[in-house]
């Protein structure tokens, strides 16, 4: 393997090229000069391996800055960066001259948009393919996930450590602190990434910019396609079947950040009408506004990747049980000492979509807390939102009002004019938590958009599907979203699986230490990913019990019993058990009994 003779962070392309030239020369020698690079199409010739060993074996990953809105202007083009985001749109593939002959040497254009060499006649080049992904910061990402991601330490970057950046870095730190405190205050909305945005503006308008003005990409603040987001990134993925990436995946990309002012300059050959008409989507995302990232490596992110410290311990039942107890007591406090509600909330937070058979979804547990009025919704609703924000990576709180239903764009829609997917509120990554506050909903007429939105919400509730509008047809996308509804009485607009009348007895003060929060986050992430093993004896016992239960209460149907089983499984997981036992089944039955009592 080739040793890192190059500064892999500062000049990754150098390494790419040198490995390529070496590989090409070797291939040429082997094949006797017949088209040596043809074999490198859609293949790695060893470049990624160099980076992989550098980043992961030698710990080089800490030296790679994270590209985000705040440091966009600070990172030099053609350096190695990391970017975490959600795949918001897939823009198809792009063909480029991947390999070409420069004199007698084969050179490559992989991982870059433009060539430092003069392009020879097209005859001597090979056309390769790469996929374009439009990525945005994860919608509803909670601030704790940002602080925990290993920080972009610009100071360690050998080639751009100026005093301004140190200042900048400090400011970033302040921002993080602000985020935390803001969270503590329990701001109702989770769209709270304002501080970051401020940071960005500070950086791009800063007079003492280390790089000249024209080399700084401006923010795409006016990109109407992504409302509420001020930053997006065009990731170019190589050598990967597109099926590996799905829409709305959250992933980390490590790659070369390119920005070329020449390319960013507006193209002014208006005489070529052909050119204008064949314009592709990337024209909508000018490099001056959307940075390009040529992905060397990528991986999907799960909840675990956002945890600051990965406890190296095995998730043993006893450990999990302890954390469960502390989390449960915290939930009880937050919910005004309503133990039943706390239990249900815990199960709800642990739920995830497990399978889907036809129309039946298994594993989801949407929760509807009833008995709220405006006042209690403002108290407990806020407490709940804050709590959820601090526990799960992505969450959003949606105040449901007639006005909101009539005006909000929930449905993602393909704009065939621009060729891009216009995001909607319901374009969410898997595992997002959504809280609907229905107490704000008054009687009133719905416009057609309102009706569409309610249908969308109902579909999401019932089948975990969101319909995307592609103008000439609709496409259903599977989601896995936890849904919590706060309402006065059972909501028929948002039919939840579990309806629990909420009965708080007091409003105790709650606070949780960072350590506790961290352990809870780890607990939720771990338990949600626990596998469920099957034990035939238990199932037989549960089946028998179900028959008994049905004999006694004829009103129980398939949906109730199915929900009970979901809850029993979640209960078992919450104790860290890998398989369900009758004990958990009985616990759920007891829970159900208490809930039924309240319903009357």
């Amino acid at each position: 393997m080739v040793g890192p003779q190059y500064d892999l962070v500062g000049n990754p392309l150098g390494a790419v090229r040198s490995t390529f030239e070496r590989a090409a020369a070797a291939a040429a020698a082997e094949s006797g000069g017949r088209d040596p690079v043809a074999a490198f199409r859609a293949k790695d010739w060893g470049a990624t391996e160099v980076f992989r060993s550098f980043l992961f074996d030698q710990g080089g990953i800490d030296k790679v800055p994270v590209l985000d809105a705040s440091n966009l202007g600070l990172i030099k083009p053609n350096t190695l960066v990391r970017f975490r985001g959600m795949v918001q749109d897939m823009l198809g593939s792009e063909f480029y001259a991947g390999a070409f002959k420069d004199g007698s040497t084969w050179r490559t254009n992989k991982f870059t948009d433009f060539s430092p060499f003069t392009m020879p006649h097209p005859c001597d080049s090979h056309l390769w393919e790469r996929h374009l992904l439009h990525c945005v910061p994860v919608p509803g990402q909670n601030s704790w996930t940002m602080e925990s991601s290993p920080g972009p330490d610009l100071r360690q970057m050998s080639n751009c450590s100026t005093s301004e950046q140190r200042d900048k870095r400090k400011r970033d730190g302040d921002d993080d602190a602000m985020d935390v405190s803001e969270n503590g205050n329990g701001e109702g909305s989770s769209f709270s990434k304002k501080p970051k945005e401020d940071g960005v503006q500070g950086s791009s308008s800063s007079p003492e910019m280390p790089v000249s003005e024209d080399r700084v990409p401006e923010m795409n603040g006016d990109d109407h396609h992504i409302p509420g987001s001020f930053f997006s990134c065009l990731v170019k993925v190589y050598d990967m079947p597109e099926s590996q990436v799905k829409l709305n995946d959250v992933a980390e990309f490590i790659g070369v950040y390119t920005f070329d002012p020449e390319l960013a300059a507006p193209v002014d050959n208006s005489d070529d009408i052909m050119f204008d008409l064949l314009e592709d989507v990337t024209a909508q995302l000018p490099p001056s506004k959307v940075p390009r990232l040529h992905c060397l490596m990528s991986r999907k992110l799960s909840c675990h990747d956002f945890l600051s410290k990965q406890p190296a311990v095995e998730p043993s039942p006893s450990l999990l049980k302890g954390i469960r107890q502390s989390l449960l007591s915290h939930l009880t406090l937050v919910l005004g000492k309503d133990d039943l509600a706390a239990h249900c909330l815990l199960l709800h937070l642990l739920s995830r979509l497990r399978t889907k058979v036809d129309l039946v979804t298994v594993g989801r547990l949407s929760l509807n807390f009833t008995g709220f009025n405006r006042e209690s919704a403002s108290i407990f609703g806020n407490r709940l939102n804050t709590l959820v924000q601090r526990l799960v990576p992505y969450s959003q709180a949606i105040p449901l009002s007639i006005d909101y239903l009539n005006t909000a764009t929930l449905q993602p829609r393909k704009d065939n004019k621009s060729g891009r997917l216009v995001t909607g509120v319901l374009q969410l990554p898997q595992g997002t938590h959504l809280t609907f506050d229905e107490t704000l909903l008054q009687s009133g007429s719905l416009a057609s958009k309102g009706v569409e939105n309610t249908v969308l919400l109902k579909n999401l509730m019932e089948s975990q599907m969101v319909e995307y509008d592609f103008e000439y047809y609709k496409l259903e996308m599977a989601t896995d979203v936890q849904l919590l509804t706060l309402s006065e009485a059972k909501s028929n607009i948002l039919p939840s699986d579990l309806v629990v009348p909420f009965r708080p007895s007091s409003v105790p003060a709650v606070n949780a230490s960072l350590e506790e929060l961290e352990s809870w986050r780890w607990y939720l992430a771990t338990v949600r990913s626990l596998p469920q093993l099957s034990e035939p004896e238990t199932y037989q016992a549960i089946q028998d019990d179900m028959v008994n239960v049905m004999r006694n209460d004829r009103s129980l149907g398939c949906s109730e019993l199915s929900r009970w089983l979901t809850m029993a499984q979640l209960t078992a997981s919450s104790f860290g058990e890998k398989s369900l036992s009758m004990e958990h089944w009985q616990m759920v039955k007891e829970l159900e009994r208490l809930r039924k009592e309240r319903m009357q």
Binding site: F95, C123, H126, D271, I273, L278, R354, L359, Y473, A489
Partner: protein, 855 residues
């Protein structure tokens, strides 16, 4: 696409074969893969009266197309670009490029040496000419094409014994074009090419630019020999390739290949007139220049006037109306939903359309496009040193075929009301899909299979499911010339105990039905047009009120909790279920809106559990008038069957723990089922056969007879005219399930069975155990009526016996006692009161409160 031609300019004068070489081959260095002939890369072209120097560059404008890996061809939009020139409205002039000047020449020169033999006319002694960079011999291809055009016989014509038909399919087509003088293109089925000459097909797909150019030339040559004066250029349009590629699988190796893709047009640009030939005029002397060809998207303006006498410099100006333009359009093609993998977004590709193809499709059309996949580099600016390494790709369209013919049918259906077809844009019945459906329909057990496929997670209730299936397929709506309207929609009511998965059935139906609306009786102002969020003042529950019926026109309207519907809304249903319209009064104007919907309602018994001792009417407080409008009423009773419970429990558990893929076999999946239903609804219009009609009559009469069983004194109505209509609808639906155009006897028999099953459950008089339509029609069974009559008679006797005219009054309690002593009948006070009421109207008694006296 340069062609190496041996001998350069010295090629045989009549060698029309050479003309694919429309432009000089580019002076590219030979790469490793170039053929040994590279030494003979001489530029072989002749030019007559060449006033316009033809560009000697391999590429036009920005269209620098690199060759796909592994193959080196001089690139460029060459032939296709050139081909466009031929399709112009002007006859080829000497100044048109190379390729055309061969054609007029050979026609002028007569037929002396045009290809006469299958060997091709290139002359046996001619040095083989190869397509540059390949081992394709131009002569061979030329000959192969000629062979194909002349000798291809459509196998379908084989059976014909028409001696006149001795000409091949394409020769006839050419003749037709010549006769009509209209066509400018010859459509060539690629399957025919393959059947005739697989080698030619392979070459055509791999090197379409070269082979198609030869194709055109051979064709023109042929035409010229038949009709020397024919001036238009005929272009070859290949279609129906052996394999069509998925839009998302287009990759660099497809560049410069002929591809066939299916997709949906999502955007069309406006039509762009593209300058082909420019004519300049001298401002000084008025001299018109020779037409100047467009080169690389640019026209070079002559520096000076070409007229000898003038020679003025910088005096030439473009004369727009003498220039030649061609139409051009760019459309965007997007993947159709069925090709998009889960979690992906559809891909798009640009397609370049020329001339006749412009405006051949409009946004929303599903099309199959055959064309050449091209790439062009992106220019950064005129003075760019670094060239962007990115390429734009597009497809040069050769042929466009609309695959979506179903749209028209739907629109027709809407207009004429002849069918209840609905299900709009989504269904694209590609032929093989239809074939698959038809195959399915031929299965002997399709009826059972469909039944199993409907809500496979709900067991038992097979007859209910069959009824629901009938509802999905529907009968034929009929509108008589007199204006009478017979609905084809089947309405079904499910009554049953809670927890019997009625709601699930409804949900399932809602998913399956073309334009289904699912609504809860509690929240639907059924007829309203606006949707409204309402809050229950007592409980604070929020509900959505929507105009469900209007929205589900031509679909199934699923109403859950039908019993909880407000009387007002329910009364509107009368109109909907019989007239299929909804009348809405707004501001003094009464609007009648179509609501051609099947109603599927489900109701809970009023006492939460069904009381078998009461009639349906008493169990669900629904007016009999409304009830009678349902074709089928099913009672779904929870029979507390442990077997069923166990099965349910097992199902739930397996859903959660086991691999749920292990489902029952032989079940149609949801999309197939939906497709099956919508196809049947759209295309199948079964008619009642005579035998079926007879069977219907016979069965109906028999049903009526059953009421007059010897034992009973009073006639019990077991069937009414409404049932006959229902039966017809049901049998039509059953025929549709088999894709049968004829309603057979077995359909009628099954319809009778379905109806009987439903009636057995709902219209059975529990006192006697017989079916009594009066139960549904009036709410009172015949036996009940009989009982009441008996009571009245008994009281009358009693009164006559025991009471004097004008005598003291008698209390009802006393009467009750008397009656109880007298007869074995169980008598209730309210029965007595009812009977006395009857007597009072007869004038026998007068009632005062609780007592009465004889009058």
């Amino acid at each position: 696409m340069a062609t190496n031609r041996g001998g350069g300019n010295s090629s045989p004068p009549n060698n029309s074969v050479s003309s694919p070489d429309v432009r000089p081959s580019s002076p590219l260095p030979a790469t490793n893969s170039s053929p040994p002939q590279s030494t003979r890369r001489a530029v072989g072209r002749r030019r007559r009266g060449s006033a316009s120097p033809y560009p000697s560059s391999p590429s036009l404008g920005g269209f620098e197309t690199p060759p796909p890996p592994g193959r080196s061809t001089p690139s460029g939009a060459g032939p296709t670009r050139q081909r466009q020139n031929w399709t112009g409205r002007f006859p080829p002039t000497p100044s048109t490029p190379m390729s055309t000047d061969d054609v007029p020449m050979s026609s002028e020169a007569g037929d002396e040496d045009t290809p006469e033999t299958d060997g091709g006319g290139a002359g046996v002694d001619a040095t083989p000419v190869f397509v540059w960079g390949t081992n394709i011999s131009v002569q061979d291809v030329n000959a192969a094409i000629l062979r194909f055009l002349r000798h291809f016989r459509d196998p379908r014509d084989a059976g014909r014994v028409d001696p006149v038909m001795d000409e091949g399919k394409y020769m006839r087509a050419i003749h037709r074009i010549l006769e009509l003088e209209g066509g400018e293109s010859l459509d060539v089925d690629a399957h025919d090419v393959f059947d005739h000459d697989p080698d030619l097909y392979g070459k055509m797909v791999r090197y379409p630019l070269e082979v198609l150019a030869i194709f055109d030339i051979v064709l023109m040559d042929l035409v010229a020999r038949i009709e020397p004066l024919f001036e238009k250029h005929i272009q070859t349009r290949i279609y129906n390739l052996k394999s069509s590629i998925c839009l998302r699988n287009l990759n660099p190796s497809d560049i410069e290949k002929m591809v066939s893709i299916k997709g949906m047009i999502i955007r069309c640009s406006s039509v762009i007139p593209e300058l082909k030939e420019a004519v300049f005029r001298c401002l000084v002397c008025g001299f018109y220049s020779e037409p100047v060809m467009v080169d690389r998207g640019r026209v070079t303006e002559p520096q000076r006037c070409q007229k000898e006498q003038c020679k003025a410099t910088n005096s030439m100006t473009l004369v727009h109306n003498r220039c030649r333009f061609s139409d051009k359009q760019i459309i965007k093609l997007q993947e159709t939903p069925d090709e998009i993998p889960e979690g992906g977004t559809p891909h798009t590709v640009s397609v370049l359309m020329h001339d006749k193809l412009v405006d051949a499709g409009k946004p929303g059309d599903r099309v199959e496009i055959t064309g050449i996949y091209r790439a062009m580099s992106i220019r950064i600016g005129p003075s760019q040193r670094t060239v962007k390494s990115i390429f734009k790709t597009y497809i040069d369209c050769l042929h466009i075929k609309k695959t979506d013919k179903s749209r028209l049918h739907i629109e027709d259906g809407m207009d004429t009301d002849s069918t209840n077809a609905s299900k709009t844009s989504e269904d694209d019945f590609v032929r093989d899909k239809i074939e698959k459906l038809k195959e399915l329909s031929k299965l002997p057990d399709i009826y059972d299979r469909l039944t199993r496929s409907l809500a496979p997670n709900i067991w038992e209730l097979d007859d209910v499911k069959r009824g629901l299936l009938c509802q999905l397929f529907g009968g034929n709506a009929l509108r008589l010339p007199s204006g009478a309207n017979f609905r084809g929609d089947i309405n079904i009511l499910l009554v049953g105990d809670p927890g019997t998965s009625k709601s699930q059935l409804l949900q399932y139906m809602h998913k399956l039905s073309p334009r289904g609306i699912y609504t809860s009786g509690r929240g639907s102002s059924a007829v309203g047009l606006t949707a409204y969020v309402a809050k229950d003042p007592e409980t604070g529950e929020t509900v959505l009120e929507s105009g469900a019926l209007v929205l589900s026109d031509k679909g199934v309207c699923c109403i859950d909790e039908f019993d909880k519907m407000s009387d007002n809304a329910r009364s509107m249903l009368h109109e909907v279920m019989e007239q299929q319209t909804v009348s809405i009064a707004k501001a003094g104007i009464i609007a009648s809106l179509n609501a051609r919907t099947s109603v599927l309602a489900c109701a809970n018994p009023s006492e939460s559990r069904y009381n078998p001792r009461l009639s349906v009417i008493d169990n669900i407080h629904l007016p009999p008038t409304l009830l009678s409008r349902f074709d089928l009423i099913y009672l779904i009773l929870d029979k507390a069957d442990e077997q069923t419970d166990r099965r349910l429990a097992k199902h739930i558990v397996s859903l959660h723990f086991e691999n749920p893929d292990v489902e029952e076999h032989q079940v149609l999946d949801l999309p197939t089922l939906v497709a099956y239903i919508s196809y049947a609804r759209k295309y199948i219009e079964p008619q009642l056969s005579d035998e079926a009609a007879e069977e219907l009559t016979r069965g109906y009469v028999e049903m009526r007879k059953r009421g007059n069983s010897p034992g009973s004194r009073k006639k019990v109505i077991t069937a009414t005219a409404r049932q006959i209509e229902s039966l017809i609808r049901l049998s039509e639906a059953l025929a549709r399930m088999r894709f049968s155009e004829v309603v057979g006897v077995r359909d009628v028999t099954e319809a009778f069975r379905l109806l009987e099953v439903a009636m057995q459950q709902s219209a059975t008089d529990h006192a006697t155990g017989t079916i009594d339509m009066d139960l549904i029609m009036t709410g009172i069974s015949a036996s009940e009526r009989q009982r009441r009559d008996n009571l009245v008679a008994a009281i009358r006797n009693l009164v006559m016996e025991k009471m004097q005219l004008g005598g003291p009054s008698m209390r009802m309690i006393e009467l009750l006692e008397e009656l109880r002593q007298q007869s074995s009948m169980e008598v209730h006070l309210h029965d007595v009161r009812g009977a006395l009421g009857t007597l009072m109207s007869e004038g026998t008694v007068v009632m005062h409160g609780d007592s009465f006296k004889r009058t």
